[in-house]
Every structure is written in structure tokens, then in C-alpha cells.
């Protein structure tokens, strides 16, 4: 079928296309700029000669980044955090969402429990009380301080809960008649059917743990325990010139090497970029299926 567009529609399409291209460029150009910087020589970068293509191609900064123990250690901390955090967050999300997706008849007190979760999305204890709880429970300076305080994610639970509710009740009823336990019903029927939603939450959670830096700063006393983004934040932030003495200025000129910073940013971004395409197909579908129809 051929659609005949009016002149107005064609003009609209043209402008729409141009606008979207500009928006896309706004997002991608800074990224390309940093990529180009990371592959350029230090001198070319500091004199502002690099735009979107490397000048004096050089791999020095990547070599330096991979030899930098602080960077590698932070990378390791983040990897552990993502793996542990994902496992715990997903387990909690699933086991909280499943019972809450049942009716009040099947799961007494369901509404109250649901509210207990939802309330925390709007009201929090604040930074200092949370900090003191983490300190007094002895979590500070352990990897658990980065994982446990944020392990219950009400938003994710709500998304999954709504998704579970889409699953036809008849499936559960027939499984019950066949003698299946609730655990078995969850594992064999609900989870496989909720794959799109799970993939979406998986991405959300990975990105969250990968990018979150503030809890690393407040709960870790030693920089050796910093996750990657906390480490990067300390390295990249602009120093206050008025407070530097001559020794510090000299040192700064070494580390403020733009190419080195860019290389570290690239290395920190690539893993998350790789994860995206694999889950892309679930990503859009999962969210709409779960929340909109719910």
C-alpha cells in the first residue's frame, strides 16, 4: 500500500528528521570526542587540536590505564558489585513481587505489604540516618554497603508485580490441581513467561550498579575499596586552582592529561555498551508489556 503524503506532512517529516538527527548528534558527538581524545597524543589533546578524529594516533593512555593498579582495582570492585548486586537484587525483586501479585484472598495483608514497599519510593530516611545504620550494622568498608542498602528496589518490584498479574490465572490453577507447589509454579510458569520484564530489570540494575558512585564515596573509607565510578569522579573533577600550591600544580599537570582521563572513561563505558544490544529487543517490549497493560 502506498501512502500519499500531503505537502504539509512531507515538510513535517523533513523537519522531524532533521530535529531527531540533531538530537542524536548531541548525544553521540561528546562520546566520539572522548573516544578521539583517548587515542590521541597528549600534546595534541591539551592544545585543543582534537575534535572528532584522533590526532597523532597513540595507545599510550590505554597502556597507562591498564597498568594503573588503582584503576584496575576499582574496576574489579565494580565487577564484584555488579555480579553480587544483580543476584541479590533480582532474587529479592522476584520473591517480593510474586506474593504481592496475588489477590488479598490468596496472600493476606498483601495491600499493607505493598504499601510498605511503595512508601519508600517517596519517603527516605535521609543520608545521615542511612549512613549511621550502615555504620552501626558494621557494613561500612565492606562490599555489602554498596549492595544491601539499595537491594530492595520498589520500582523494579512494581514493574515485575504488574507483569506477573498479566499471566492468566488459569495457568496457576491448573498447576495447583496437578499438585505443584507455589515455588514450582513461580519457577516453571511465571518466570519463563516474565522473561521480557526480567531482562528489562536486569539492564536497569546492571546500569545502576555500574554507574552509582556516591555510596562508594560515603561508605568506603579507603580509596582502594572504591568502585570504578567513585574513583573516576575523584580523578576527573576539576581542581580548585586557588587552593593549589606549586607542588600540587606540577602533579596535577601530570594527571590532568586529558587523554588518560578519556581512556579511563572509555574503558568504564564499554562494558555497559556491550550489554545493551543483547537485551535491546526485550528492553522496549518488556517495559510496555509490564507497566502499561497493568
Amino acid at each position: 500500500m502506498i501512502l500519499h503524503k500531503t505537502r504539509g506532512e512531507k515538510v513535517f517529516d523533513l523537519f522531524n528528521g532533521i530535529l531527531l538527527i540533531i538530537l542524536a548528534l548531541l548525544c553521540i558527538l561528546p562520546f566520539i570526542h572522548i573516544l578521539a581524545l583517548s587515542f590521541s597524543s597528549s600534546a595534541a589533546a591539551t592544545s585543543g587540536k582534537v575534535a572528532f578524529w584522533p590526532v597523532d594516533l597513540s595507545l599510550n593512555s590505554y597502556q597507562y590505564a591498564f597498568q594503573n593498579p588503582a584503576f584496575l582495582r576499582a574496576f574489579g570492585v565494580t565487577l564484584v558489585r555488579v555480579i553480587l548486586g544483580l543476584a541479590i537484587d533480582m532474587a529479592i525483586t522476584i520473591f517480593a513481587a510474586y506474593p504481592l501479585s496475588k489477590s488479598n484472598g490468596q496472600m493476606p495483608g498483601r495491600t499493607i505489604f505493598a504499601w510498605i514497599f511503595v512508601v519508600t519510593m517517596f519517603i527516605g530516611g535521609g543520608m545521615i540516618p542511612t549512613y549511621m545504620v550502615v555504620t552501626m550494622t558494621g557494613l561500612r568498608n565492606t562490599i555489602w554497603a554498596l549492595i544491601l542498602p539499595s537491594a530492595v528496589k520498589p520500582f523494579n518490584i512494581t514493574v515485575l508485580l504488574n507483569f506477573f498479574r498479566q499471566t492468566p490465572k488459569e495457568l496457576e490453577e491448573s498447576a495447583l490441581i496437578d499438585g505443584a507447589s507455589q515455588m514450582r509454579i513461580l519457577m516453571r510458569i511465571y518466570l519463563p513467561l516474565a522473561l521480557p520484564a526480567l531482562a528489562t530489570l536486569f539492564i536497569f540494575d546492571t546500569v545502576f550498579h555500574w554507574n552509582e558512585w556516591f555510596s562508594g564515596l560515603i561508605y568506603m573509607d579507603m580509596k582502594a575499596n572504591y568502585p570504578l565510578q567513585t574513583y573516576l569522579q575523584g580523578v576527573i573533577i576539576e581542581p580548585d586552582f586557588t587552593l593549589l600550591d606549586i607542588n600540587e600544580i606540577e602533579l596535577m599537570s601530570k594527571i590532568s592529561s586529558k587523554t588518560f582521563q578519556s581512556a579511563q572513561i572509555m574503558i568504564a563505558t564499554v562494558p555497559i555498551l556491550i550489554v545493551y544490544p543483547f537485551f535491546q529487543k526485550y528492553f522496549v517490549k518488556g517495559l510496555t508489556l509490564g507497566s502499561l497493560k497493568g
Binding site: 592544545s47 549511621m132 550494622t137
Partner: protein, 575 residues
């Protein structure tokens, strides 16, 4: 089922409370025991028995633990296996003084450190020695009764060397004194090194054929000529968003040349203190900058440029005139030397044609960084023992071991700044150390005689300056670092030469308030500075006419300025 769920929820709550309570209790008791084991002998009885010498440089009988937090510098490199918590300083302090340094936490200096410190303050978990990054933090802790008085400990335990250097500038101890009690020690005195001088690109000046400048108007004309020669690629003056005070792209230099002293508290003819930014002289400076902006001689986007962005303009050959501090030789000018071998000529701040009397150049106010001791810590004197040790090992001629404690280069590749590894990075060294090195290095090179060098500091600056001359002789390429050493230390027209000239001609102007802040300042100063910057940026960029300066002064007064002027004068007259 319903009751079951309720019961288990209740149990869960109880369990959580117990857990929290137990863990908290354990924590408290463990920190108490560690503090107890730290002090077996009481310090009061020690004072009575010991000679001043023993008090200042003697070791404790038993190891004494001190808990510190460290503002770190990500660029600092350590020898293999070392860190801020374990390095030449912590090992030697334990060995020589029986001081056991325990680093309770570290964070990158600046925002990250302040966040952690504020957390520690709110959760009442302070280190024993407090490294405070602002004067308002110091005042707040004092008002909350969280730090202890140091008057007597300073008297008894600070070494003569340190006392001489601290009281070299009589204001310094005043800043740490609240209600007649010494509550903290400033980390630094007046920054005589943070003062403006004029830097002009040699190659461009030759190209334009203009004579060397004699007044600030000449300098401005040179900047204009540089741009006029290539308006496509060049800007006139270096200028960025930090309009007052970042030391290399602000208005301070030209203001000083015209007799205006923004952000300085100066003595009026009648002996009272007045604030520099709101004086009529500063209005004229604004007019000059508004004119430069309107004619395109400063970047039209200056209000969005931070220091790094201006540095980038410099290194990409866009700027030929800077009125900035001595350290720009090390960065970013040395980078430009590395890529394009650009030499810069140096002049002191030259007076305006309309200025009566000599030029006064204003110094940077001290940062307000303080060190203090937590209330309740049993060994407040330890702070001074530590400060004594730091200067003794790095600066005092008889005891210094610079290779071990100051800095050393293992080979051409790696340089270790041991002095910066010190968990208490505060040195009350001779304030004139850098300034004295310049004539020494110059004489040693001119006469080829190293006997002019008297301190370890002289020697290390001589070595790097000598390299510049050696390379010229050998016809080897000169690096930015060589150039920057030569530009800093050799001759009267070097950076330190010019500053020595400021001393000799009495050009320095130090704010009378410097490191001190009044009560209203602690609350309101940040807002007033923002107001200042906002008006300055808007007037320069033509959004407001220059006459709106009067409106600014009124608003400034109304927003607490008047109150502050009163408080400052009360404080000043009570001294």
C-alpha cells in the same frame, strides 16, 4: 496464617533492633579500649618533668595512637607497596616518636573530602586530629564544642623553629584564636607567592614591533595589538569565569594597577577597615573590562570558561597576554613550551597612568584551612610533636633529610614527593624559603659556584635551572620543565625575582582580615560572593550598564554586608 505473618514481622523488627544495637555497642567499646591502651602515662605529669627540648622532640614511652583522615591527591605516586596509611612518614613517626598513625579514612581533597568530613561531623565520629578545609567548618566545630583548646600545648610543645615561622606574620595565630583561646592552627600563612605579574608572549611582541610596556595601559594596548594582528585566531587578554581570584585569568592584576583591591579588607585613612570590591575605584576597572568585552578583546563566552578551558586557549596559541601568578610557568605555559617553544616576558604589575603613588599588589587570602584537635582526645600535644617532626625532617638545616622526607627522583622517569605523603600535610617552614632561593640560584649560576646555595631547596631548584643552561650549551632540545625552572628562578625578571622586587619596593598588600571570618560571614559570605560575581559578569558582558555598580553596592549592603563591615571593625579595633 494471618497471625503468623504478623508475628514473624514483629520478630523481624525485634531482630533488626537487636542487631543494630549490638553492633553499635561493640563499636563504641572497641574504640574506647583502643583509646585507653593508647595512653598509659598521663601527659600532665610528663610536662612537669620534661625539659622543653624533650617535650618538643622526645619520643613517647609507649606508642600513642592518633586517628587521622586524609584529603588525598589522586596524582600522587608512592614507592612500591606504600600508601597514605603506610609510608616513610608513618614508619618514621612510629620509630622516632612512638606516634602510631591510624588513617581512619581518606578521600580526594575538595568536594569528596568535604562530603566525608561533614558525614563524620554529623555522625559524631571525628578523627583525633582534624584537617579542616574551611574556616567556617572550624568555627562551627568550635561553637558545637567539638574541638579543644590548644593555647598551653602550643606554648609548651611547638618548637622554636615553628613558632618563629608561625609568628613571622603576627596575624596567623589570631585566626586560630576564638575568645582568647587558641582553638586551631592555620595550615598556611599569607600567600605571598599568589600574586599577579604580567606575562607577554615574546614572539608576538617582536612581531608587532611595539616597545616594552611601562604602564598597564601599554599592556592593554599590546593585548589589543596581538588580537588586531590576527582577529580570526586570537583573543586579547586571558579571561575566564572566575572573575576574581583564580590567579591566571581574572581581573585582579588590572584592578591592582588602577588602585582597586577586590575582595581585600584594607585600612581606610581613619584606621577603619573597608571592603575593596565596593569602592569606586573598582567601578572604573569594570568600565575598562566592559569596554574590552564590547570591542572583542576578551572572549565573548568568558562566563562559561573554567581554568582548564582558558589554559586550552593558551596552549592552542590564542592568547598573548596573561596577568597571572608565578605558577603558570609550571602549568600551562610549560606545556606550550613543549609543543611550540614559546617564551614569555615577565613584568611586575605596572601602574596605571592615573594612579597616585606606588602599585600595590594584593596577595591571595589564606584558604582558611585549619588543623584542630577533637575534644576528648587525650594527647592534644601530639599535634605539635608531629608538626615539629615534619619541619625538622624537611626544612630545618641541621636535621633535614630531604632525600628521605622531601622528594627524590629514583631515575629520570619517576619522582616521589615524600613531603606530600605525610598524613598531616602541613608544614610551617620558613615563609621566605622560595624567595631566598632565587638570588642564590642566580648567583650560583652566574659565578658557577655552588657555595651560594644554602638550603636543600636551593640545591634542587639550582639543579633544574642549571639543566636549562647545560642543554643550551650542548645544543640539546629544551623541555617545558627546563624552561619553567629557568623562568621561575633565574634573574630579576624571573617569577621569584619579580616577587622579591615586590618585597624590596614594599608593593605587597595583605588583607587585614585574611584568614579570619566573623559570625555573619560564616553564614552569608558565600551568598555575597555569588552576588558580586553575578553583577561583575553582567556588567562586563553589557547586560547591565556600568552604573549598575551603585545598585550592586546597595544590594550588597542590604544582604548582610553592612552587618559584616560592622563586625569586622569591632573585631579589628578589639585587637
Amino acid at each position: 496464617m494471618k497471625t503468623n505473618a504478623k508475628r514473624s514481622f514483629g520478630l523481624l523488627l525485634v531482630a533488626m533492633m537487636l542487631l543494630g544495637g549490638c553492633a553499635g555497642g561493640n563499636n563504641n567499646s572497641s574504640s574506647e579500649t583502643s583509646a585507653d591502651t593508647g595512653n598509659t602515662s598521663s601527659s600532665a605529669s610528663q610536662t612537669a618533668e620534661q625539659t622543653p627540648e624533650e617535650r618538643q622532640t622526645g619520643a613517647y614511652d609507649e606508642p600513642v595512637t592518633v586517628r587521622v583522615a586524609i584529603p588525598t591527591n589522586a596524582a600522587l605516586t608512592f614507592p612500591d607497596g606504600d600508601s597514605y596509611s603506610e609510608n616513610v612518614w608513618t614508619r618514621s613517626l612510629l620509630e622516632d616518636r612512638n606516634i602510631d598513625v591510624e588513617v581512619v579514612w581518606e578521600a580526594e581533597s575538595g568536594e569528596q573530602y568535604d562530603t566525608k568530613l561533614n558525614l563524620a561531623i554529623s555522625s559524631n565520629d571525628l578523627p583525633d586530629i582534624l584537617n579542616l578545609s574551611s574556616y567556617s567548618q572550624f568555627k562551627k566545630l568550635n561553637d558545637a564544642g567539638k574541638i579543644q583548646e590548644l593555647t598551653q600545648y602550643y606554648e609548651d610543645y611547638a618548637s622554636d623553629y615553628i613558632k618563629t615561622n608561625i609568628s613571622w606574620d603576627p596575624q596567623v595565630l589570631d585566626w586560630g584564636t576564638i575568645d582568647g583561646k587558641l582553638m586551631g592552627i592555620p595550615q598556611e600563612g599569607v600567600n605571598y607567592q599568589q600574586v599577579r605579574m604580567i606575562w607577554i608572549r615574546e614572539d608576538w611582541l617582536e612581531e608587532t614591533g611595539l616597545p616594552e610596556p611601562e604602564t598597564i595601559e601599554d599592556v592593554i594596548n599590546i593585548a589589543k595589538a596581538f588580537r588586531d594582528a590576527d582577529p580570526e585566531n586570537r583573543l586579547g587578554l586571558a579571561f575566564g569565569k572566575t572573575v576574581l581570584g583564580d590567579g591566571f585569568c581574572d581581573m585582579t592584576g588590572i584592578a591592582n594597577a588602577m588602585g582597586a583591591y577586590p575582595r581585600v579588607w584594607l585600612e581606610d585613612d581613619d584606621g577603619s577597615l573597608i571592603y575593596g570590591t565596593i569602592q569606586p575605584e573598582f567601578k572604573e576597572v569594570l568600565a575598562v573590562y566592559a569596554d574590552l568585552y564590547a570591542n572583542g578583546y576578551i572572549d565573548q563566552a568568558f562566563a562559561s570558561l573554567d581554568g582548564n578551558a582558558v589554559a586550552e586557549q593558551l596552549t592552542s596559541n590564542k592568547i598573548g597576554v596573561i596577568i597571572g601568578n608565578s605558577w603558570i610557568a609550571g602549568w600551562p605555559l610549560s606545556t606550550l613550551y613543549d609543543t611550540d617553544q614559546v617564551n614569555w616576558l615577565l613584568y611586575p604589575v605596572l601602574p596605571s597612568e592615573n594612579l597616585d603613588g606606588p602599585v600595590k599588589v594584593q596577595t591571595l587570602d589564606p584558604s582558611g584551612k585549619m588543623v584542630a584537635v577533637r575534644e576528648g582526645y587525650e594527647h592534644p600535644e601530639l599535634l605539635f610533636k608531629w608538626l615539629n617532626y615534619s619541619t625538622a625532617m624537611t626544612a630545618e638545616p641541621e636535621t633535614a633529610q630531604p632525600r628521605k622526607f622531601h622528594s627524590t627522583a629514583t631515575d629520570a622517569e619517576e619522582q616521589f614527593d615524600f613531603q606530600m605523603e605525610n598524613p598531616l600535610y602541613v608544614y610551617w617552614n620558613d615563609p621566605m624559603l622560595n624567595f631566598n632561593s632565587q638570588p642564590h640560584v642566580t648567583a650560583a649560576i652566574d659565578n658557577d659556584d655552588t657555595s651560594y646555595l644554602t638550603t636543600p631547596h636551593d640545591e634542587s631548584q639550582y639543579a633544574s635551572t642549571k639543566r636549562y643552561f647545560d642543554k643550551i650549551e650542548a645544543g640539546e632540545p629544551i623541555t617545558g620543565a627546563d624552561w619553567s625552572a629557568w623562568r621561575s628562578w633565574y634573574g630579576d625578571d624571573s617569577a621569584f625575582g619579580i616577587m622579591n622586587g615586590y618585597f624590596a619596593n614594599d608593593n605587597y598588600l595583605v588583607s587585614k582580615l585574611a584568614g579570619y571570618q566573623t559570625d555573619t560571614m560564616v553564614r552569608q559570605w558565600g551568598n555575597l560572593q555569588t552576588l558580586e560575581e553575578q553583577y561583575i559578569v553582567e556588567i562586563i558582558s553589557g547586560i547591565r550598564p556600568v552604573d549598575d555598580f551603585d545598585e550592586f553596592v546597595e544590594t550588597w549592603m542590604a544582604m548582610g554586608g553592612e552587618q559584616i563591615i560592622q563586625e569586622v571593625n569591632e573585631w579589628y579595633s578589639s585587637k
